[in-house]
């Protein structure tokens, strides 16, 4: 009987399902913000400063106004854009210095690309034509480009009214926090001890551009009772609230819609000046208006990411036990503070200690203003920087000690039986098994075999030398416990909301507060709801991105959509089932206590009587007959506030071939084994890992957003900003181990950022492993062929100690010199 009755749908969680949103996305049958067609829509073009730092004199708009089709040309003060204070939601310290960030610059521009005027026209072409005719009289000021110079006495100030280029200094010291010892004492002790060494390195995190596929676009229709803004944003809810707070709009008179959004990678976590300008113009004219950026505008003005100088100091015993870690960062904020910009490097504060048991730790970050495009979240936000710093450092320490780099990691990492583990930076890692992920990765990679091949190539003196790089990483994601955010002075909570509407025909509409922009949420969430309600996958629709249907949410970033939003969905589904239970009991003429709910059906234990939840949905819709004292409604709404972050981890192993004649780095093999807890959809997880790897590898090898000495961005088109395509990558070997999270009922951890966070140091470690034999100490990212060749050339004939000497004789060579400052001064990384 059980076999016959088993018509329940197959388990959805854990199933490879192709993404149901892809049909409309891939065939172009969706409507992006730029496709919104509204009668009478006017178009904007923004006039932007070509100078990094300049006083604005007069602005002559007369010629622009003569262009046929032009409706208006506004300077900042014409629409009040100069008086706006765009929000920063993360004041990291009480005395943080915050400049006013206008929607359009009024009297001074602070980065090349800042908007100074806006043209409104009947066509986008007329707006663009006219924008070229706006004449702005600039008096150039000195640009501020170098963080260390910017902090010196007498430096040109980006914002003279602040009296400094320092935004804030944020310090964590485990000795003071009581979570560990004093790092400075540990380092001082190591300087004196015969059995310890001190290793100091400087690393550079270059500036990157997120380069989402869909350029940003905003449409504002002010003609209805509610002002409606469509925007290509990751954060429609935050945007709505911030628009209300920033512009003094009644919140109930604003509706924000993020339709399908073509990528974000953190780059669309913003209240963008252009969004505000579009709104102000729409209000001024009382007409719907649209702004859509060009790719060059996007590269120049949408916020950038990373850009840090990292000084790391490690105290370690000669047999490889880390005694202390000191991290000193300079983080480039650019010209203004973005929505969460100042907090991005601070997220790294919790991650430099990574998977290791470091007894003493200090983190000291100074945020600096420069006359560059502002920086803010970019995939991983703070955690890639930290992971790069510590994983590069582990290799450097291993070299100094003459240890195999994986052995050094094993010597220091948290063992699987030690979980839950509270780290020196005060986080409690709930679960993990670094040994299991590493063992599997080493075996898939054939680590020993590749080491042999590496040696053979060295012995033969091959043109193409092999290098192996390791990154054993963890990260904190699933942002975030609201209490923790409160303690970090973040301007919001970290909960998430979901609501389930059971329709009369038994179908479910699930309204979510997270806001997908390419992740596959609709598919993964439908799988969760299908399992939890026991209804077919096809009967679930995920609604998102419109504050009218989804009025409560905190949107998508920090790998939170599943680990936080997914749990809100589970809680809402549990409420649906509990609301349906008394109705089921009534329909079945049974006691609630005798019911069990499995596979979408309430059954009376020990009988074949039962009623499905989809039938109950119809019964409460008709409401002809239901128990007294309850409402005829099984819809539910739930908010979940996580008690902890989630901590995915993994072992990434990369082999590269370095062409010693040309400096070209070719990926040779890439293996990663990630523990992301319970996997809802393996296909989506693999896709997220692949995309993340591509972006992390791209930081190591390809991408860079440099400025020239006048403050002009040199990568203003995709010809100059080097993005890899599939042709430049190799087939990745990915796999998963799983230690389910114990802090949420699904056991899930985040996956969206893992590949990006982990991969960058694995690649750079591999490049250096290939060329260290020639005396090369460090190569800045991206490790372009020109840089690799230059490093090889400068290392040749310098008589630098061969690292092989260290490997052969642990504790000798550089290690014996490391107690003096000479290492700091001599290190190739400096």
């Amino acid at each position: 009987m059980t076999t016959v009755e088993n018509s329940a749908p197959a388990q959805e969680i854990g199933r490879d399902r192709r993404r149901k949103e892809d049909r409309r996305l891939i065939t172009g049958r969706t409507r992006w913000t730029d496709n919104q067609a509204i009668t009478g829509l006017l178009h904007l073009s923004i006039v932007r400063s070509p100078f990094a730092h300049a006083e604005i004199g007069s602005i002559d708009t007369s010629a622009a106004k003569q262009v046929p089709g032009v409706v208006a040309v506004y300077t900042a003060s014409d629409i009040g854009a100069d008086a706006v204070q765009l929000p920063c939601a993360w004041p990291i310290t009480k005395d943080m210095k915050s400049p006013q960030r206008p929607a359009l610059a009024g009297s001074r521009v602070n980065f090349a690309g800042e908007g100074v005027a806006v043209v409104v026209a009947r066509t986008a072409a007329a707006a663009k034509d006219a924008a070229e005719l706006v004449e702005v009289d600039y008096s150039e000021l000195a640009p501020v480009l170098d963080m260390e110079e910017a902090l010196k006495e007498g430096a040109t100030l980006v914002h003279p009214e602040l009296g400094t280029n320092e935004n804030a200094q944020w310090v964590f010291d485990s000795g003071e926090a009581g979570s560990g010892g004093s790092a400075s004492e540990a380092i001082a002790a190591a300087e004196k001890a015969d059995d310890q060494i001190v290793v100091r390195r400087r690393f550079r995190q270059q500036r990157l551009v997120p380069v989402f596929m869909e350029p940003r676009s905003t449409v504002v229709d002010p003609t209805g009772e509610q002002l409606v803004m469509w925007s290509s944003t990751q954060v429609p809810h935050i945007l709505k609230t911030m628009l209300a707070l920033t512009l003094g709009l009644p919140e109930h008179k604003v509706r924000v819609i993020a339709p399908d959004v073509g990528g974000g990678f953190g780059g669309k976590i913003a209240v963008a000046p252009e969004e505000v300008v579009t709104l102000l113009v729409a209000q001024k004219l009382g007409k719907p208006v649209k702004w859509t950026e060009t790719r060059s505008e996007s590269l120049l003005t949408a916020h950038h990411g990373r850009d840090q100088i990292q000084d790391l100091t490690v105290a370690v015993t000669k047999d490889g036990e880390i005694k202390g870690l000191d991290v000193k960062l300079l983080a480039d904020m650019g010209a203004y503070l973005g929505l969460v910009g100042p907090g991005v490097p601070i997220l790294g504060a919790f991650m430099f200690n990574a998977i290791y048991k470091i007894p003493a730790y200090r983190f000291d970050c100074t945020n600096v203003f420069t006359t560059k495009t502002l920086t803010d979240a970019y995939r991983g936000a703070g955690r890639p920087e930290a992971t790069f710093g510590i994983e590069r450092m582990m290799d450097e320490v291993a070299v100094e000690l003459g240890m195999e780099p994986m052995e050094l990691r094993k010597r220091n990492w948290i063992k699987h039986e030690e979980f839950p583990f509270t780290t020196v930076s005060t986080l409690t890692y709930d679960t993990g098994n670094y040994e299991a992920a590493t063992d599997q990765a080493m075996s898939m990679f054939d680590y020993d075999g590749l080491r042999r091949e590496q040696q053979e190539r060295r012995d033969r003196g091959d043109v193409k030398q092999l290098g192996l790089g390791i990154s054993t990483f963890t990260e904190m994601c699933g942002l975030a416990p609201s209490r923790v955010l409160g303690s970090l002075d973040y301007g919001a909570g970290g909960w998430e909301t979901a609501a389930i509407r059971m329709l009369p025909t038994g179908k479910a509409e699930v309204v979510v507060g997270v806001s997908p922009h390419g992740q596959g949420h609709e598919t993964a969430f439908s799988q969760i709801i299908a399992d939890k309600l026991g209804i077919p996958f096809e009967d679930v629709e995920i609604l998102h991105g419109d504050t009218q249907s989804s009025y409560r949410g905190l949107d998508t970033y920090g790998s939170r959509s599943l680990a936080v939003g997914g749990i809100a969905m589970v809680k809402a589904a549990e409420k649906v089932v509990e609301k349906a239970r008394p109705i089921a009991a009534y329909m079945l003429e049974a006691s609630e206590d005798d019911l069990e709910f499995t596979a979408g059906k309430f059954s009376v234990k020990g009988t074949d009587k039962g009623v499905g939840i989809q039938d109950i949905a119809l019964a409460v819709f008709a409401a002809h007959d239901y128990p007294e004292g309850i409402e005829p409604d099984i819809d539910a709404h739930a908010t979940f506030d996580p008690e902890n972050f989630s901590y995915p981890h993994g072992t990434h192993l990369c082999a590269v071939e370095v062409d010693t004649e040309t400096g070209f780095v070719q990926l040779y093999k890439y293996v990663c084994v990630d523990d992301v807890g319970t996997v809802i959809n393996p296909l989506i997880v693999e896709g997220q890992v692949h995309g993340g790897l591509a972006q992390g590898i791209a930081q190591a090898l390809f991408e860079d957003a440099p400025y020239d000495e006048s403050g002009t961005l040199l990568s203003g088109t995709l010809v100059d900003y080097t993005l890899p395509s599939a042709a430049d990558l190799i087939s990745f070997d990915t796999a998963n181990t799983s230690t389910p999270s114990t802090t949420n009922p699904l056991g899930v951890k985040g996956v969206g950022e893992a590949g990006t966070i982990a991969s960058t140091p694995a690649v750079v470690n591999a490049v250096l492993d290939a060329v260290r034999q020639y005396g090369v100490k460090d190569i800045e990212m991206p490790t372009t062929p020109y840089r690799v060749w230059t490093a090889l050339n400068s290392a040749k004939g310098t008589g630098a100690q061969s690292d092989e000497a260290n490997v052969a004789s642990p504790g000798a060579g550089l290690g014996s010199m490391a107690k003096s400052d000479s290492v700091k001064n001599q290190g190739g990384a400096l």
Partner: protein, 283 residues
């Protein structure tokens, strides 16, 4: 980005196109495959008054054999060049170089004539035409004329095509039985060459009996590595002789310096890549 406004004509014959160009005056520009010209318009680096689109002229497309020459219509797409049997058999170097141009999308739209007339020093097709002594057929108000490849490329983005002329075809001598290799060095697959070397060699009985080598992006125009060619011819084919000969590759070049490569690095790359190209061509 949105280009400035312009007039547009799409003639169906070379004669009509020449007339349209003459009528259009100084600000008339020719649109071939558009893979460089459309970005120029979109970035507003150019604002022509008239665009003459050659896409409707059937006679400009296709590859044909004319006696001892292979003639490629200027509007033949890169994709068609790479698939053409005549070229693969007799002018393999141009097929090999064309395969490396940008990506599939660009190769489906971009044309051989358009790329050569654009004369980007980092473009991949000029050096092979120079190395192979191709001839350029140009039509204008006074009829047709032929320009030798040595005279065609004059400077950065500047060719011998007059303002009222149209490149209609490229004629290649046959190099049947020669080995060919286009050794391209760039940072990512779809990027322009930092340096590239076009090499065609004839090996008979273990000796190099003829060699033609052109360099991409080692000056404002493609450069013939004649020093390498003469060092190779008559030599017994070996890695050692090839690498020794390749040391002359940077002679007579004047490479630029930019973020991807200093001039010294380009000179170094020219030598390394020349060695590799010749070895691969000799197969």
């Amino acid at each position: 980005m949105i280009p400035a406004s312009f007039d547009y004509v799409r003639p169906t014959s070379v004669a009509e196109a020449v007339q349209a160009l003459a009528d259009g005056g100084d600000d008339a520009k020719i649109l071939a495959g558009g893979q460089s010209f459309i970005p120029v318009l979109r970035l507003r680096m150019g604002d022509p008054s008239l665009v003459v689109d050659l896409g409707g002229i059937a006679e400009l497309r296709g590859v044909r054999e004319e006696g001892d020459k292979i003639v490629v219509g200027a509007m033949t797409t890169h994709h068609d060049v790479t698939r053409d049997d005549l070229l693969n058999q007799h002018v393999k170097l141009i097929s090999e170089a064309t395969k490396t141009v940008a990506d599939f999308q660009v190769r489906h739209r971009g044309t051989l004539g358009g790329a050569l007339a654009h004369a980007d020093p980092a473009g991949d097709l000029a050096a092979p035409t120079l190395a192979l002594d191709a001839e350029f057929v140009v039509a204008g108000p006074d009829g047709e004329r032929t320009v030798a490849s040595g005279d065609f490329f004059q400077d950065y983005f500047t060719t011998a095509i007059g303002p009222q002329e149209i490149l209609t075809a490229i004629r290649f001598p046959k190099y049947t039985g020669w080995g060919a290799r286009y050794e391209k060095f760039n940072r990512v697959a779809q990027a322009w060459s930092i340096v590239a070397v076009a090499a065609a060699v004839k090996v008979e009985g273990g000796s190099i009996t003829d060699a033609r080598i052109g360099l991409t992006n080692m000056a404002g125009v493609p450069v013939r590595a004649r020093g390498v060619e003469s060092a190779l011819v008559g030599q017994t084919m070996s890695e050692e002789t090839v690498r020794a000969a390749a040391q002359a590759a940077a002679e007579g070049t004047s490479p630029t310096s930019d973020a991807d490569a200093g001039s010294d690095y380009r000179e170094h790359l020219a030598k390394v890549l020349t060695g590799r190209a010749v070895l691969a061509a000799a197969g």
